[in-house]
């Protein structure tokens, strides 16, 4: 493996029960690069992101970060390992027993040696950055979905980690706030040389923030290129996704799932469950 690779994913396989989600994913991210991952709902983008930070363990294949195999880390090592990361979850995953302020302060208290005063300043700074000044004392349940997502974003970047993982940071946000979040992501990689992996459905965002765009489809990375090149790829699946067309190869391939799986998916109507979340994304976009 060459020196200049920050995240190295090789032949990653992952199934849940009989359902194959990742079927041999290969992708590398170099330091200070911003990689954008696109793909339909329920194709396993969130699952892929969770492998990078060791929340899920691969069935086979490897994920290496700074040359360290994530799945081989022990319980205590993984705690240390995660200090380099910040992650924003798809639904925010804010601690609902804590205020917004406490949520953003949490990684600072846990992961840095900052004083109380410094933490206070940093929290204010982060909330201002996502245009949420003045909501610090609110509880997550008092915020809209988009606001929660922005708090989750602020919490992920607060301790200025080396690597940032964003799971749909702008889904459901208005275009202006989306542009604002994109600016922050760009600024972080320019100024702090942060390496980032961002999942998005928003092609405009993808072209704006990505140094490279990769498309996940049926468990594999089917295309991978810098934005300008990506836009011109011949692959009809890529073209259909970029232009958001209802008809095309992607729509025809969809029913390739087993009957049991489709039952599972319609059966779940709940918050937070991956399949349910996928269904809600569809409604939104």
């Amino acid at each position: 493996m060459p020196e200049a690779v920050k995240i190295h994913i090789h032949d990653l396989h992952k199934s849940f029960g009989s359902k194959v989600v990742l079927d041999g994913v290969n992708v590398d991210v170099v330091p200070a690069e911003s990689l954008v991952i696109i793909g339909g709902s329920g194709t396993g983008k969130s699952v892929l992101l969770k492998h990078i930070i060791g929340l899920l363990k691969p069935d086979s294949g490897t994920v290496e970060v700074d040359g360290q195999a994530v799945e081989k880390l022990g319980n205590r090592q993984i705690t240390e390992f995660r200090r380099k990361f910040g992650m924003a979850f798809q639904e925010g995953a804010l601690f609902d027993s804590m205020t917004v302020w406490q949520n953003v302060a949490f990684p600072l208290q846990r992961l840095t040696k900052m004083s109380r005063g410094e933490i206070g300043d940093r929290v204010e700074e982060c909330l201002t950055m996502v245009r949420l000044e003045g909501v610090g004392e609110k509880l997550p349940s008092q915020l809209s979905g988009g606001m929660r997502r922005r708090v989750g974003f602020a919490r992920a970047v607060a301790h200025q980690p080396e690597i940032l993982l964003f799971d749909e940071p702008t889904t459901g946000l208005d275009p202006i706030t989306t542009a604002l979040i994109d600016e922050v992501i760009l600024d972080l990689s320019d100024r702090l040389k942060t390496t980032s992996v961002t999942i998005t459905h928003d092609m405009e965002s993808a072209f704006r923030i990505g140094d490279r765009i990769a498309m996940l489809h049926q468990g594999k990375i089917i295309a991978e290129a810098p934005p300008e090149e990506f836009r011109r790829l011949d692959d009809p699946r890529v073209q259909q996704f970029i232009h958001g067309r209802a008809d095309g190869p992607l729509s025809e391939e969809t029913p390739a799932r087993g009957p049991r799986d489709s039952k599972d998916e319609t059966g779940s109507t709940n918050e937070g469950e991956p399949a349910g979340a996928g269904a809600r994304e569809l409604e939104r976009s």
Partner: protein, 251 residues
């Protein structure tokens, strides 16, 4: 090797339970110590359960007095109602009933709270921020419950004896002085200690089971409902079964 589904599920649950218990003990001595959270949980498990434990113990003591009075009367042994009420409460009923009630109140709340945190990815978020969920969530809950249940049981002992006294003296016209004499005549420290030891084991069990059910929740809101129910059912069964073995062991 293939086992029938329920059997396999049982061993899987047991494995998870002992793994969680191991992790709770491994994490407990490690800093940072979150005394504030421990205290908050002690209030939630203990102080908030005082009214319902009080009522249960009071009426159990009263019913015991009624029942033993009518039975012992047949042997002309009604003088011993006080002894029977006190020994039954202290050795057995106070601990088991408090355990079952706190399992229903606090154990289920733990299952629901941690289950919600699991399905909304809050537990993943904790892990991502280099915070072990067992350390952060299970350790304070389990020790709070282990500490508070014996205190509830000591209160329950007193209240149960009071209930028995009220029924025997006020309703049945027993002699107050000799009733109280009988109450403490046959009781020794061992009786009290065994009740308290049982209580702390029950407290540990119900909290650890509540946390386990929460941590292993899958399937959204419906799953949280399942975990909440399982937290109560599994903890109640665990309390009743372990009560038998503890009684064998402690006497």
């Amino acid at each position: 090797m293939t086992l029938p589904h329920p059997v396999e599920g049982f061993f899987e649950e047991m494995g998870r339970f002992f793994q969680l218990v191991g992790r709770i003990f491994a994490w407990t001595p490690r800093p940072p110590y979150d005394f504030r959270e421990l205290f908050r949980q002690m209030v939630k498990v203990g102080v908030d359960s005082v009214p319902v434990v009080f009522l249960t113990a009071l009426f159990t003591g009263m019913v015991l007095a009624l029942q033993t009075f009518s039975v012992l009367n047949r042997f002309k042994a009604q003088d011993f109602v006080g002894s029977l009420v006190a020994l039954s409460m202290v050795r057995e009923l106070s601990a088991v009933l408090s355990g079952l009630i706190v399992a229903g109140r606090a154990g289920s709340a733990m299952g629901a709270e941690l289950g919600t945190m699991r399905v909304t990815e809050q537990i993943d978020a904790l892990e991502v921020m280099a915070t072990d969920p067992v350390h952060y969530l299970a350790v304070p809950r389990v020790w709070a419950s282990t500490i508070m249940l014996p205190l509830l049981v000591i209160m329950g002992n007193g209240v149960g004896i009071l209930g028995g006294y009220l029924v025997a003296v006020v309703l049945m016209g027993a002699n107050p002085v000799s009733y109280l004499d009988r109450t403490f005549q046959f009781m020794d420290l061992n009786d009290l200690v065994s009740g308290v030891v049982k209580a702390s084991v029950f407290g540990f069990l119900l909290a650890a089971i509540g946390c386990q059910q929460g941590f292993y929740t899958t399937g959204g809101a419906e799953g949280v409902g399942r975990s909440t129910t399982a937290a109560v059912v599994v903890a109640s069964i665990a309390i009743l079964i372990s009560d038998f073995f503890l009684t064998r062991l402690l006497f």
